[in-house]
């Protein structure tokens, strides 16, 4: 187990290093300069700016400095906001994004599991059909379309929740739903398929023969066993939530990472783009590693297979 873990962490570091390198050189290939949005500047001014940001040095030197600084937690200075460190920019905005992502994940998993198990228990009835239709629609309707509709009909017309901005819990409800519906639909489908299989297995038959209540069977035996493979979906969900946050945070004007990322893209703010990319990659790689470890712990069959790898 320890050897496997060490190997995984080594690959992880290598991956992140490569991602950093590739992002850096892609940024260097980008057309336009960070100053192209500003008013006309004299060449002398541009020269001063270049020196200030270290853009006058040869590319390889910039690269070495970049990697060195990053290892010390310094992601450079934003081009867009004068003299603001990217690490500060990110850390001041990570709160809302993390909260939103976490809530959406919990929302999606919780209701997805409920809908999926209800569908599986009532397999091949109208309840099952309804759940399937709901999950197909949830999977197919893009989250930004849903966000706009929720914002207009629930927030503006009915006035149940604030329209936009970030504050108390009520501000988070609509963005959480918009962001969480994708994972919800996926979870429901996944749980339903797994549970139908499990419910047909021998040990469920045994539990039934023992005279356990229906709830007892579902909760203690069926659900627990169909939950295990769900762990593998956490990684893909994280990706979906990260990308989703880019547009949801924009629609609900939430001061988070995703909103900042889009803003940085539109203004050629390289250091911030690189910083956020690295943050996303680190987050994703860590979560994938974590889920793999957890998966091995809760399902010993997988651990055996993993060791052989």
């Amino acid at each position: 187990m320890r050897k496997y873990l060490l190997k995984r962490i080594l690959y992880m570091v290598l991956t992140l290093f490569l991602v950093a390198t590739i992002t850096f050189f892609l940024m260097k290939l980008m057309p336009g300069t960070p100053y192209s949005n500003q008013e006309k500047m004299t060449t002398a001014q541009i020269k001063i700016m270049n020196e200030q940001y270290g853009l006058n040095k040869p590319v390889w030197e910039q690269y070495v400095i970049y990697i060195f600084d990053m290892l010390h937690g310094d992601l450079g200075t934003s081009f867009q906001y004068s003299n603001q460190a990217v690490s500060y920019l990110i850390s001041s905005r990570i709160g809302p994004s993390a909260q939103l992502g976490f809530q959406a994940m919990v929302f999606g998993l919780f209701f997805g599991i409920i809908i999926g198990s209800v569908a599986a228990i009532n397999h091949n009835t109208w309840i099952d059909t309804t759940a399937t239709v709901v999950s197909i629609i949830g999977k197919s309707v893009p989250n930004f379309v849903l966000a706009v509709l929720l914002q207009y009909y629930i927030a503006l017309k009915l006035g149940w929740f604030p329209i936009a901005d970030w504050g108390s819990f009520s501000y988070t409800v609509l963005p959480t739903i918009a962001l969480g519906v994708g994972p919800l639909a996926e979870t429901a489908r996944f749980i339903r398929t797994g549970m139908v299989d499990v419910l047909n297995s021998d040990y469920i038959e045994l539990a039934r023969a023992k005279g356990l209540s229906k709830f007892g069977i579902v909760y203690h035996h069926a659900l627990r066993n169909s939950l295990i493979p769900l762990v593998t979906l956490i990684g893909p969900y994280t990706v979906a939530l990260m990308t989703g946050s880019m547009v949801i945070e924009n629609i609900f004007s939430i001061p988070g990472i995703g909103e900042q990322f889009v803003k940085s893209i539109l203004t050629n703010d390289y250091p911030t783009i690189m910083g956020v990319t690295m943050l996303f990659s680190v987050g994703l790689v860590l979560i994938i590693l974590l889920t793999d470890i957890v998966y091995g712990i809760i399902d010993p069959r997988i651990r055996l297979a993993g060791n052989g790898d």
Binding site: H123, I136, P142, V262, N268
Partner: protein, 341 residues
């Protein structure tokens, strides 16, 4: 659970002798794998309807090419700006008869703007351009994106997976690490970086898809190839000295076909979503071209007063996504009956 059947001696009758001879005869014609899958697919109503919708969308979208070009897309007519939908013969349905709800009452916008003889089926946008034309063009863009993603899935994804699985060992290890690196950056971040390096537009979206869309396919193909590799018929082909390329084409690909088809059907909605998403946040398709994402973004700005400008593209996009998802599920059930229900 099981019904009790009462059995009496009458229930049993000796079989006439002649029929025994026909015991071995197979009554139904034998079906090939594809025919069998097609037969199962046809039983799935949702999938058949989806297939039908997709075919109609493809025909309309690509059939419109001679009629809707860049010139039609940029031609604006400010007199006709923001007209709601008006479909001949539907004069009695508010919202489809050229009337728009303004301050609580239905007002005939066509009469007000001196366009009583015009019919815009989906209304017009803020520059007086027909929304129907723009939606059809947008659908075409979505379908092209879908086609491109499929192409890369089938070429890069399948080849990569087969090579990685077939070679095994160090080659496999390196190839899997590459996939791991690609997929440890969120796909959309890759897309965004590609869009920044190239300039926003169709080319960069295609390039981005080329980089990121095929990894899942490659993984699945590799896993399956690893299993197929140890099958007797592959061993036989190897022993007979068949070249690896021929083994891949003649033995592996046909046996991988169901996975390939199913996985492709899951790549398509993802790719369509990608394009719409990018265009929606303003870094995808840009003027003069348009796409469903661009239309949604435009419509979103005026949603309060001109809801139809957002609703129509949204409905088309959702129907497209639902159709591909349902067809994908149908194909999975048809090609892989074991996992069904």
């Amino acid at each position: 659970m099981e019904e009790k059947i009462k059995l009496s001696p009458d229930s049993f009758q000796p079989l006439p002798r002649e029929e025994e001879l026909d015991n071995e005869k197979i009554a139904a014609p034998s079906l090939t794998f594809t025919q069998d899958a097609w037969r199962r697919l046809k039983k799935n109503k949702g999938a058949v309807i989806s297939l039908f919708i997709i075919v109609i969308m493809v025909v309309v979208a690509f059939g419109s090419t001679p009629f809707i070009d860049n010139a039609t897309l940029v031609k604006s007519a400010p007199n006709y700006a923001n007209l709601p939908a008006r479909i001949p013969g539907l004069d009695f349905i508010n919202g489809l008869n050229g009337k728009l709800k303004v301050g609580g009452t239905w007002v005939n916008e066509y009469a007000q703007n001196g366009a009583s003889d015009k019919y815009f089926w989906f209304g017009t946008d803020y520059l007086g351009r027909s929304l129907a034309q723009r939606i059809i063009y947008g659908t075409k863009i979505s379908l092209i994106v879908a086609l491109v993603a499929t192409f890369f899935d089938l070429t890069i994804g399948v080849t990569y997976g087969i090579v990685s699985g077939w070679k095994g060992g160090k080659v496999d290890n390196v190839m899997q690490r590459i996939i791991e690196i690609i997929s440890s950056v969120p796909n959309l971040v890759i897309v965004v970086l590609m869009l920044l390096v190239l300039k926003p537009g169709m080319t960069s979206i295609i390039a981005a898809i080329a980089i990121s869309s095929w990894t899942t396919m490659a993984r699945m193909i590799r896993a399956e190839t690893l299993q197929l590799k140890s099958q007797e018929y592959v061993l036989a082909a190897r022993t007979l000295g068949e070249s690896p390329v021929k083994i891949a084409l003649k033995h592996l690909v046909p046996n991988l076909s169901s996975i390939i088809i199913i996985q492709t059907m899951y790549t398509i909605p993802t790719a369509i979503f990608f394009e719409a998403f990018l265009s929606f946040i303003g870094i995808g398709i840009s003027a003069p071209e348009t796409s469903l994402g661009v239309l949604l973004n435009d419509g979103q700005k005026n949603f309060q007063f001109l809801p139809y400008q957002m609703w129509y593209p949204a409905i088309v996009l959702c129907v497209l996504m639902i159709s591909f998802n349902l067809l994908g599920d149908g194909l999975r059930d048809a090609f892989d009956p074991k996992t069904r229900r």
